[in-house]
Symmetry: none
Subunit: 116 residues, 2 copies
């Protein structure tokens, strides 16, 4: 199963990733987030990965691309809810998500983006 | 002897390394710190190396991996208490711990992490 929902939290888009992301779903998510950042003048994007048991090199690249695209659109991306075992796996794979900010929870992510 | 204790100092985890670290102990420390950063919402990790007479390339890699994993979990790692001869040896080995912040004492490390 792959599923992604995007909701607008008072000027910040929250994308929740669930299950495995296909190539098409990843490309769709990138496009949707870019469009909605512009349409809603969002100041930031939170990507909730707390449902994911694993983040592989493909997903790491997708996260990086989303962050790069939203940065070009004047919004900042924060990855939230990463599980400790996922962080360990990423480091073992040499994938340290350079340039991506992280937060433990959605609330922390909102705070990082300057939202109360 | 190898031994590592981890304590929580008001939202910052302090890991004290003593004696030589085996592969298993290093992996265990990495996992424990990642889990506890998430469980305690720690904002930072201090790694006290003041008991170590030597830091070799293995330990340098372990420190780097811990810093990378905790960064993914929104916590910052500071290496504290390095002895001057250890610093010299690291430089002689060409190991300059890129990306790792350092402080002379635990108190300085806490200040670096914004703790009073």
């Amino acid at each position: 199963m792959h599923n992604t929902s995007v909701i607008n939290l008072d000027g910040v888009l929250l994308a929740t990733l669930e299950g495995e992301l296909t190539d098409e779903a990843a490309a769709g998510l990138r496009t949707e987030l870019a469009s909605r950042v512009v349409a809603t003048s969002a100041s930031g994007v939170l990507i909730d990965v707390s449902s994911l048991d694993i983040v592989d090199s493909f997903l790491a690249r997708v996260l990086h691309e989303i962050a790069a695209a939203t940065a070009l659109l004047a919004a900042e991306t924060v990855v939230v809810g990463m599980r400790p075992e996922v962080a360990i796996t990423l480091v073992e794979l040499g994938l340290t998500l350079p340039g991506l900010r992280t937060a433990l929870t959605v609330a922390d992510g909102l705070a990082l983006l300057g939202k109360p």
